[in-house]
Point group: C2
Chain length 400, copies 2
């Protein structure tokens, strides 16, 4: 007998069915939206040669990356994001990929983050990117898809903050991440931090008064053509985004009433994808914060009530009546109604009902000796606790 | 400019959209079947404490496992299969899980296999398991689901080989893996290998003449009740399955005409799931060999022809006509037809058409000055190369 305590690593999670079903709902919804715009799935390996990933995410990234030597003494690293692997794919299969290349990718990434900050070490990323064109339409489309995704998930009120990273061209690099925090920490603190870095705090006013660039104006015009609700789009001259690989449009989407941070962000990055080739490859894309989306969905009660997999539990009154129960399963099955036959006819009915309750199965069918004789079944609604005896064949219409 | 060669590790794979779409098709089909029987999804972390996994898969497993020290000096290992994590989950959340616990799990596992044998080091496993009951119905249900899965994927002719591992109780342990290979290597070689191990080769005849156990008879009766095609089920007394954790039913499914090996296998294992608890927890389940399934699907041409994500490419004749193209996109979108607007209006029409060809998009819409004036569009079928000019609004009915 093992004395090993069953436990998971800090920052790593099990998703039991209740949670896993919610995750699948969000993933499937996103996929459907992405595909309706012609984005196609891409999968890359969890492990890459270390040299592919190293140095691409700054010192912080190198530190947080899961790196090790494999059994063949190769230096390998676990996927840290989905953008560098995309760059590798674009270089490796350049003659096979259609251009523009519109792909989505929904896979786990691993980062040895400080878990005390509520961060996870394994988490799902959902990315869409368009590679190979500088057309402002591709910028607008990414924002459109992000907005459509949120709307399809059920979010009504959100704000799309947009800016042009080119506005920061002549701004002291050290000032950018400080100014970016304006909305979070307020003007006073921004000025304080600027001073601490020896930067004149007048720079804040300068950035706040930056005009909309022509490129951004173009994108906004296209968003209007695409009928994106104008009131949702807001020019935010202090928005900078953390990563400094952006070269044009940047945007973040915040959900009204959800304060943990933006649920989606992205922008144009024309110099990153060409990393492994000898030419510049323009790209624009965005990533959804999956854990935040899940949290916000929960807070706003946006998960459908019927995520239950099983609609009907068909109980077995006693072993001799198993055949009668199987008949009901067949009727439900023929009508594409997810059903379960209780697996052990020797278990008492009471325990079978408890199983349905635990699994939140909405309906239970009971076929006792009377029902068997009369070709009826007793249907119990576990939510209302009502039950009625009905003609066997009618069951399919009553549980829909 | 980076001089790093873009490449993947041996045994690891990129799945470009064409392949990724096929994978999604198979995954979604399996999920749907699993859920129709009340199986629910479970996700476990990619990384576990090494001690959770170590020693559970024999010496071979310990050797092939990806193990390393994380940044916090914890000894960790990448998921090697989905059964030991299931055992951990069952122990860790025993009060939260409904019993019987019917779960499916479709995640990657990692094994440092010899890639020269055509094996992969990262591959998808698809498992279904029922935990917490010894009822023969749970055995029969697993076989039923496996058969339904294959039928739903389009396989017509396959054989379900079944046996009872208890028949091997008094057989020399070293003889079992040799006898298991009978179908693959033939009687002569089995006898030779037995002799090499110093085992009397009469044991082969003895095993071949083993009778069906009562337990197996029960399961076969239930399969009949469940209307599983009798001719597909075959008692195979020499079937042993590699892993020696099985305690009762064992089975493998072979597809007629696909010779690379069984595509699904499993059985009852009543002593493994209790690994991390102090009690015995019975279980039965099976795993699909995803890569083999994919290969067999390809060989039998079972992938649907319309796995294309995008149904219609709406081209842009020249930038001034962009609005007209957007209008067509809106019509298609409102009718749930996946469409793409070509992203760069400055690109020549010819190149836009080439993009549609590359992406195997079946239809292309062209709106030139004449069409714009007459409120028509030209619809081109890229397969037949036919094209016709039609009323704009009619487009939605012509591409379905």
């Amino acid at each position: 007998m093992s004395s090993i305590k069953p436990k998971t690593l800090k920052g790593f999670r099990d998703f039991l069915p209740k949670e896993a079903k919610k995750r699948q709902f969000v993933i499937n919804t996103l996929k459907k939206v992405f595909e309706s715009y012609g984005f196609e799935p891409l999968e890359t390996p969890s492990l890459e040669y270390e040299e592919i990933l190293l140095g691409k995410y700054g010192d912080e990234g190198d530190k947080l990356m899961y790196r090790f030597e494999d059994n063949g003494k190769r230096k390998v690293a676990l996927r840290y994001d989905q953008t560098v692997p995309l760059a590798r794919v674009v270089a490796q299969y350049q003659n096979e990929l259609p251009m523009p290349f519109k792909r989505y990718q929904i896979q786990n990434v691993w980062r040895a983050e400080n878990t005390q900050k509520g961060r996870f070490r394994e988490f799902l990323q959902c990315d869409i990117d368009t590679v190979g064109t500088t057309s402002p339409f591709s910028d607008a489309e990414i924002i459109e898809i992000a907005a459509t995704s949120l709307k399809t998930l059920g979010f009504k009120d959100f704000k799309i903050l947009i800016n042009d990273r080119k506005n920061f061209k002549n701004i002291d690099k050290k000032a950018i991440p400080i100014i970016d925090k304006l909305a979070k920490i307020g003007e006073e603190k921004v000025k304080m931090y600027l001073k601490e870095e020896g930067i004149d705090d007048k720079i804040l006013e300068k950035v706040k008064n930056m005009p909309i660039t022509e490129d951004l104006r173009n994108i906004i015009d296209l968003l209007e053509k695409l009928k994106i609700d104008k009131s949702k789009v807001e020019f935010s001259p202090t928005l900078a985004r953390g990563l400094d690989y952006y070269t044009g449009l940047i945007f973040e989407i915040e959900i009204d009433g959800y304060s943990a941070g933006s649920v989606c962000g992205g922008g144009r990055y024309d110099n990153l994808i060409g990393l492994f080739t000898n030419k510049q490859v323009p790209a624009v894309g965005c990533a959804f914060g999956f854990d935040r989306l899940m949290e916000a969905m929960g807070e706003f009660k946006l998960f459908p009530a019927d995520l239950q997999v099983t609609k009907v539990l068909v109980t077995v009154f006693f072993p001799e009546l198993l055949d009668k129960s199987i008949e009901v399963c067949e009727i439900l099955n023929a009508n594409n109604i997810n059903q379960e036959l209780y697996l052990d006819p020797s278990v008492k009915l009471e325990k079978q009902l408890k199983y349905a309750d635990q699994k939140q199965i909405p309906y239970v069918v009971i076929i006792g000796p009377d029902e068997a004789k009369n070709n009826t079944v007793t249907l119990k609604n576990l939510k209302t606790r009502e039950q009625k005896t009905v003609i066997k064949e009618d069951i399919k219409d009553l549980v829909k």
